[in-house]
Amino acid sequence: MAVLLSRLPHSDCLNLCHRVVDGLCGREPPRWADYSSTWSLQEWLELLSSLTTLFRLAVQSSNSDEEVLALLSDVGSSHAKAVLSVLRSRQEEICHALLDRTNSISSATLQDFEWQLKLALSSDKISSLHSPLLSLSLDVRDNGALQPVTMELSREELSKLINALEAANKVVLQLK
């Protein structure tokens, strides 16, 4: 990694590290296209994975400055310091992201959800219906793959679902 990171000037190194942390926290990671003149694709992937691992490990085991610098011993000192400063400034965010990962430790977790309320005015059998319908779409992350689950609920079904979720929430509260 030493050789790889040293090819970049100091300020760019800071930016790159910040964007790597962005990627770690769930936002857009840096793209190879921006750095294709500096590194080959393989080098880029290696650098990216090693930087990510470094940040994770450092935050995980809450390393002191010296330990981090020791890990970065083969990089130039100014670059190592840049990486260290990025690490210190983003420590809390990284910690948050890692905690989120730990929270979603079980097999399927809810990533995101969206709902739309629709008013059905009529159906093929009944000319005037006027019943509200909720279309609920859940993005479930199952073993790493994002899986959309979409359903349409009437008022009774929705209240049943909400009751079930509230019961689950009560269990969680009791655990606290």
Binding site: V3, E43, S50, D74, E92, K176
Partner: protein, 633 residues
């Protein structure tokens, strides 16, 4: 009359009659308009009755006649007492129409107006607003995308329905740790690198949803903490930090227990037999093999070892897996693969070794602990035995001079009992005040306890009060807003207040007029009295004069003449008065007649007669045409 007409026209417009802006009096109403207005009113008053009636006058004369008859019948059914027939509608006269319309407008159900006046609920206002918005959107014609004005793009294009996706944001105020807030690196990052929220996300559409999500998350967390602190935290009598740390340790312990209980069975089935049990234990198994390194683990003795092991290995791999230079690629790859295979084998070997060794170690540690325990027990027993032995040794030493020693022992015992008694009395002396002190302190303590619990309950009630009053304030603000909007809506209906003003004015005018009328009446009465007085006086004077002159007339010729003149004068005067009275009555009659003429003129009799004649002719024509048709048929 103008006021009345204005009110009538306003009411008719509200009912739904299509009146143009120029019509401002009943005089301008055409037959068609009158029919429409009357039918609309009847529809509102009695829908069953009104729905059978057409709002438009038909062309055929006989049909018109029938419509007029049915309308008149309907009006009588509703309860109109005045004279009414088909002629009222077809050959209208202003006063008749006015009185009919006034009757109908008075009959209009009042609740409709009252309902709109009442402060309706928040949901009703919202629903009305939604209905209005949807109606407006539906009224807009559909246009192809290229022709759309920008303001319609929002409702008509499909692009408006973005899905609600959330991405994490980095906000400076999220840093909760107060110590870290002032770190130089953090400040530098926030100042130089951190982009504004709108630029942090890859797609613009998720900006709003992300910000909303973040805010709700923070808000709900704050609320949850608040409620928990109010319900449990305050009662625990700790500072927030202490409470938090205590909760954290409690949670840690719980999770640790859970993990340990899940991990134990899998640890016993040592060599990675897939556990049939729970999700969690499966997951924990995954950690033992070539575990994914990116999870924060909670502390549990078993794991920290494996975790450290795997992590350090990977870290080492990371730092070493850097290509040092360029070599022949094929060769390098082959060698690397071989190396990799060898290393993996070695790694597997090491893993199994480690597992074996850890199992052995566990066994050993258990036996070790047992042995240590035993050793301790033995040592304890040893010490006891030694003590016993020493006591026995001393007694054996004392045996030879038994009596003397016995005496000595007795003296010693006595002295020590005395000392014990002494000490006991001393202890009593000291004890009494100490116990008192203790009691006093206890009392203080309990009183303080009571005080603190009282204060706690006070705080709680204060919290409740605060919540209640904030809610109330919110509610009141909402009603205030609602009333404001309603007031704005009401402002269009200015006529109401104007009407009341007018009515009040009219009432005061009427009062004034009434006063004047009473004044005039009293004047008239006085005049009448004076007239009566004067006539009485005149009559009496005349009678006296008549008598005097008549007495003298017998004697004197000239006086007789004057008597004749007097009689003639009296008669003439009587005639004169009579004539004046007659003139008055005639004048009154003339005025009556003039009024009648005006009323007749208002009835448009001549024009109506002409129209009636025309319509008569039309009916006859229709009849003859029908007869011809019948004959042909």
């Amino acid at each position: 009359m103008e006021e009345v007409d204005k009110i009538l026209i306003h009411a008719l417009k509200q009912v739904g009659t299509d009146l143009s802006e120029e019509t401002d009096s009943v005089k301008q109403f055409s037959s068609e308009l009158i029919v429409e207005a009357v039918v609309r009113c009847i529809r509102v008053i009695d829908p069953a009755l009104g729905n059978a009636l057409p709002t438009l006058l038909p062309h055929g004369m006989s049909a018109r006649f029938r419509v007029g008859m049915s309308l008149a019948q309907a009006c009588q059914d509703i309860g109109y007492k005045g004279e009414i027939g088909y002629q009222t509608f077809l050959y209208s006269s202003e006063p008749e129409i006015r009185s009919l319309l006034m009757f109908l407008v008075e009959k209009l159900p009042r609740e409709r107006f009252e309902a709109s006046d009442q402060p309706s609920g928040k949901s009703a206002v919202l629903q009305r607003a939604i209905a209005a918005a949807i109606k407006a959107q539906l009224a807009v014609p559909w246009l192809p995308p290229n022709c759309r004005l920008p303001k319609y793009c929002e409702t008509q294009s499909l692009l408006a329905s973005h899905s609600f996706h959330v991405q994490p944001l980095s906000l400076p105020h999220c840093t909760k740790d107060p110590d870290k807030k002032h770190l130089k690196e953090v400040k530098d990052y926030q100042r130089n690198v951190l982009s504004p929220v709108t630029a942090q996300l890859s797609s613009r559409t998720s900006v709003v949803s992300s910000i909303l999500e973040q805010h709700t998350a923070e808000l709900s967390a704050a609320q949850e903490w608040d409620s928990e602190w109010n319900s449990q935290g305050l009662l625990s009598r700790l500072t927030p930090q202490e409470y938090r740390s205590r909760k954290l340790t409690r949670l840690r312990k719980r999770i640790e227990e859970q993990l340990r209980s899940a991990a134990l069975p899998s640890a016993e089935s040592a060599c990675g037999v897939p556990a049939s049990a729970s999700d969690l234990s499966e997951l924990l198994h995954a950690f033992r093999g070539s575990a994914p390194s990116d999870h924060v683990l909670t502390k549990s003795t078993h794991f920290t070892h494996t975790q450290k092991f795997t992590f350090t290995q990977e870290a080492a791999a990371v730092t070493h897996s850097i290509p040092t230079g360029h070599q022949l690629e094929g060769d390098v790859q082959l060698r690397q693969q071989e190396e990799l295979a060898a290393l993996q084998e070695q790694f597997q070997q090491l893993c199994t070794d480690v597992e074996h060794l850890s199992a052995d170690m566990k066994l050993m540690s258990v036996t070790n602990a047992q042995v240590l325990d035993e050793l301790k027990q033995r040592e304890l027993a040893n010490v006891q035995n030694e003590e016993k032995m020493q006591v026995k040794k001393k007694t054996i030493d004392l045996l030879p001079d038994a009596d003397g020693n016995l005496l000595q022992l007795q003296a010693l015992v006595e002295a020590s009992t005395k000392r014990v008694v002494n000490l006991a009395s001393q202890w009593e002396k000291h004890r009494a005040p100490l116990i008192d002190e203790h009691r006093r302190l206890k009392e203080i303590c309990s009183s303080q306890d009571m005080e603190s619990s009282r204060k706690l309950s006070e705080i709680k009630s204060l919290h409740d009060k605060i919540r209640v009053s904030t809610e109330e304030a919110k509610k009141k603000e909402e009603t205030y807003k609602q009333l404001l909007t309603e007031l704005e809506n009401l402002n269009q209906d200015v006529s109401r207040s104007a009407y009341t003003q007018r009515i009040l004015e009219i009432v005061s005018n009427i009062k004034k007029q009434k006063e004047e009328i009473t004044k005039i009446l009293s004047d008239t009465k006085e005049l009448q009295k004076e007239i009566n007085n004067l006539t009485g006086k005149l009559d009496r004077t005349f009678a006296v004069t008549d008598e005097l002159v008549f007495k003298d007339a017998k004697k004197d010729e000239s006086v007789r003449k004057s008597y004749k003149y007097l009689a003639a004068l009296h008669e003439n005067c009587n005639h004169l008065i009579q004539t004046i009275e007659d003139t008055g009555t005639i004048l009154r009659e003339i005025r009556d007649l003039e009024e009648q003429i005006e009323a007749e003129n208002g009835n448009k009799t001549v024009a109506n007669l002409e129209r009636i004649l025309d319509d008569y002719k039309a009916i006859r024509q229709e009849n003859s045409a029908l007869a011809a048709k019948v004959r042909e048929g």
